[in-house]
Every structure is written in C-alpha cells, then in structure tokens.
Symmetry: C2
Subunit: 114 residues, 2 copies
DNA sequence: TCTATATACTTTGTATTACTAAGTATATTA
DNA sequence: TAATATACTTAGTAATACAAAGTATATAGA
C-alpha cells in the first residue's frame, strides 16, 4: 500500500475497531493486536506503541476500564480491558460517524462512474 | 456527528476526494468546496483554511498544477487546479488504499454480526 | 546451557493534517 | 450603503499513528 496515505486514512478508526472488539468480552492488549490483524485481513498491523496508547486514552475517557489478571500457573500478567457503560453508549455513535463518512466518500467516488 | 471522531476519521481521505474531483477537468478552490459539499451530502463541509492548504500540498507533490485565470468581464481571478500525469498515476493507488482500509474495517465491524 | 523468539506492557519523540481564526479583496444584492 | 457571497492566503493548534527503545517472562531450538 501507499504508506503515506495509508497512515493518514487509518486515523480515527482505530478507536472504533478496538471498542468493537471489546464489545463482547474483555481482552488484553496483545490479544487485540492479533485479532485486529487476523480479522482485518492484515490491513491493520498495529505495533504496541500504537495500540497501548489508544487503550490508555480510551480508559482516560471512561470508555473502557482495565484490571490486571492475577497470573495463574506461571503466566505472564495481562492487563484486561473491558467496556464501560459509557463505552457501550458511545460505540454506536462512533460507528455511525464512520458510516456517514464512508457513505459521503462513496458518493463522491462513484459520482459519474455509471 | 460526534465531532471529535469525525475530525480524525476524515484524515487522509480529503486528498483522495480532491484528486477525484479534478479527474475530469480543472477546477478552482471555491468550486471544489461547493462540489464536495453537494456530492457528499453535506458530510464534507470544508473551510477555505482546510482546502487550500491541501491544494498547495498536492501541487508541491506534483499531483496537480495551478494557473490563474485571466479574469474576463470583471470576474474575480480564480486559480485553477489541474491534474498532472503523476496525479493520474497516483489517484488509483490512493483509491486502492481507501478500498483496502474500508474493507478491513467492514470485516472487523461485521464480524459475528450474523 | 545458551540463544532466539514470542508474549506482554510502557514511554518518548516525531510527522502529518484537519481545523480555527484572522486577514485581504472583489462582485452582487438588499 | 451595508451585507453577503465569492475567492484566496496564512499562522497557529490539537490530535494521533507510528518508530524506536526499553523492561520482563516463557518457550523452543541448537
């Protein structure tokens, strides 16, 4: 992909995708990176330096909350993130912003392409 | 719309939309603002301070070129922007970046929604 | 045993960009 | 005459994806 444009176009949607992945159940950071990679068909290959600050920001905004796992059987400790009530209210709003913008883009792009 | 997210999600796509609108014929800045507003269904309401710097950047990158209109019959002078050869090569590349990213987002969003 | 790799989280710094706000100037309309 | 629409410019700000480096543990291979 054209890296320059790729980077900019991804701005803003990561919050949406992370929230979406947390919708059903709590997950930890590294898990989110691999799920995002797999489900997006390797379009979203996040580095830790990208994802973790997003989680910190979402937590600061009150959309998610975290707790450390008590590490059983010699397991590396993990920080699980779960959606808050506010997060559940906000997710559909953000999803709607995405829908409107992508529709606007489609309309401009498909214009006169009949 | 949720302004905070709206702003970020629009990042990067404006170059694409502006190039798309210039594909068929040269246009001037103010014209691009109104066309973008109308064709997007008022999703993209650009201020001059948003559009013109985009055009300067695209020109600096060699994707478009500008010329001032010689103002006939007491008309305000206009700066027309036209696609360059390089611009015509780059447009499909950027459009493809958009397609891949939006497909990746759709896949994550639609996951388990059956 | 040693080493490399995968897992897992943190932090600092940088580049890019949409937007606000202000300014300049002309033409048209009320 | 004033207000509005047209048309372009510029300076400054905030937000964020990413690179890069660091810390630490578990596991697999040589």
């Amino acid at each position: 992909m054209n890296e320059k444009y790729e980077r900019q176009m991804k701005k803003g949607v990561l919050d949406l995708l992370v929230l979406k992945l947390l919708e059903k159940e709590p997950k930890y950071g590294y898990q989110l990176i691999t799920e995002l990679r797999d489900k997006s068909g390797a379009v979203f290959l996040l580095k830790e330096g990208t994802l973790y600050p997003i989680l910190y920001r979402l937590e600061e905004e009150g959309l998610v909350e975290s707790r450390w796992s008590e590490p059983k059987d010699r397991q590396v400790p993990r920080k699980y993130y779960a959606m808050t009530e506010k997060g559940r209210q906000t997710l559909p709003e953000i999803a709607d912003v995405w829908r409107q913008i992508s529709r606007g883009i489609r309309q401009v792009m498909e214009e006169e392409e009949v």
